[in-house]
Subunit: 332 residues, 2 copies
């Protein structure tokens, strides 16, 4: 049986392959190459937001909603970059299981940070490619709201949801403005809490700062009904603000409709392939860097490298001078 | 006049050089090489924590306290990785100016994210080196609490302060556990707010998870009086929890004493040079990667690169296969 067919029918085989890929083993690498021609079909949805916004419940509910609505298989990839030493996604998984257990059409995988953040984005991309080739039509990538990692995920996902909740502390506003820049859709979850109006006004104000050119359009539509295709320039997307109450399953018809609209928008105006290309270019650059560095390390003698390092530690040679010396053939 | 002497006496020259270094210009690079032998003396203090903990006030107050206590020159480097597009440290600067304006012994610089996070850590390291060579004895590196960036700063700083505040939301706890792992000193700021006891107990509980081997010692000392040299194994450091009220200047004698104790500890047991070396090795590896990649890009013809990329976009060749093809001499 071909690998791609086995993955489609055998959850255990899929799970094992994900581990190989996550650990970057030779088997994992070979499988990624073999699966690559079968990938490129899935819709990658990034979901990010601070703790306390109910992000994980929202992801669960979104997956359930898609299952009922489309019957398509859904993958959830939970990435937790906050704890590089112990990993932090385990608790989230257990809560998740209660809601989604027993549904063979949903595959949940969590991932804690491995090594550098570049490495994290790289591994996340590789795992989504496995799901993609295995026929998962929708892949939800969830992260804790943590600076650079959202940006990397926005680069990876086709559609990025930023989740907020009412009244989530005044000081958090400084962070929000940064996060808003990567949002394709803003979700105001826990919309039954007091303060929802104030928070929505604040979000709208910040959206205007981020998208000044579209300022006049932001007030045209109702909340959640801004339609970029009628009220704004054709080739620009204005992030709608949608209210949800994840624990009561409210607002998900509107949310999935907005996600579908964003997908259409990307396909129509070239954004879909543009994002794919940017992603692949980044991936290739990382691979080129890794390969070149590995070759260099294999070519230089350990003792020589230590000798140069010692000069740097003694402040006799700056790091840049040391690298120049090593790469200009004095040592290799 | 030698560059290093000019920087010591001329704030404008220092400011201009920092910009050159931040923009990675040839002048900036040359200056970094020239300054390198003069660096390696400053104490790098990282300060991190979520918005709302009063972190910036604490940094201001700490700088003022050091000025009065030691007369040494202090640099503050505020790094904001949350907003890669617009930068977000501007408001913080304005507040800061009120407290520290007019003191020639304090130099404040803010930096928004440029490019990748690896690049951010790299630039931060370079700027601290300039301050270091220019005779700033204490360099405070402040970041917004944002996952990977704290980890990178913990790697950069000699002493890392993690700032918390009472009762800062239940959901934030998930993040705290990760942050605690990088703390050398835990600062419980806003200690006059209700809930301080509960928060301190929670922090202590989490510290025990992170440092299980030292569990029995954590309850020996009073808050802020845990002395690693008497109550714990000689070569291990137990992060003390210290209470401060930054806006009322309370707790700073204890805080600076704890920082001094941590410095002594690092110098005595080799941690100081160990951190320096780890930092320099990372820096050199980044430089090696950059240099090798730049050479590769200069060596391959743009058209050839585009041809391979096109195959990847069409899913005829996986990124890894494409890189192998390019590096194995078919194109160069």
């Amino acid at each position: 049986m071909k690998l791609v067919d086995r993955l489609t029918s055998d959850r255990l085989a899929l799970s094992r392959l994900l581990t190989e890929v996550e650990n970057d083993t030779p088997e994992g690498r070979a499988a990624l190459d073999a699966l690559y021609p079968h990938s490129g079909k899935a819709h990658l949805i990034g979901v990010t937001g601070s703790p306390g916004t109910g992000k994980s419940s929202l992801v669960n509910r979104l997956a359930l909603h898609y299952r009922r609505q489309t019957g398509e298989r859904i993958a959830i990839l939970a990435v937790d970059p906050t704890s590089p030493f112990t990993g932090g996604a385990v608790l989230g998984d257990r809560v998740r299981m209660r809601d989604l257990a027993g549904d063979e059409g949903v595959f949940i995988r969590s991932m804690a940070t491995r090594g550098s953040l570049g490495g994290l984005a790289h591994t996340t991309a590789a795992l989504t490619r496995v799901f993609d080739a295995a026929g998962y039509a929708i892949i939800i990538i969830e992260t804790v709201g943590a600076g650079q990692s959202e940006v990397d995920i926005a680069r990876l996902a086709h559609t990025t949801l930023v989740v907020e909740a009412p009244n989530f502390g005044d000081d958090i506003q400084a962070i929000k403005a940064g996060i808003l820049e990567i949002a394709d859709i803003l979700v105001l979850n826990k919309a039954d809490l007091p303060g929802v109006e104030v928070t929505e006004r604040a979000l709208r104000g910040m959206l205007e700062m981020v998208h000044p050119a579209q300022r006049s359009f932001l007030h045209h539509g109702q909340v959640g009904k801004i339609d970029s295709k009628t009220s704004a320039p054709e080739n620009s997307w204005i992030p709608p603000i949608l209210r949800t109450i994840a624990i009561h399953a409210q607002g998900f018809d509107e949310l999935t409709a907005a996600i579908a609209r964003h997908r259409e928008f990307l396909l129509q105006y070239g954004g879909w392939s543009h994002r794919e290309r940017a992603r692949l270019e980044t991936e290739m650059e990382t691979l080129i860097q890794e390969t070149l560095t590995a070759r260099f390390r294999a070519g230089i003698r350990e003792l020589d490298y230590e000798e140069v390092l010692a000069k740097v530690f003694d402040h006799r040679l700056s790091p840049r001078e040391a690298v120049k010396e090593m790469l200009n053939g004095r040592y290799i």
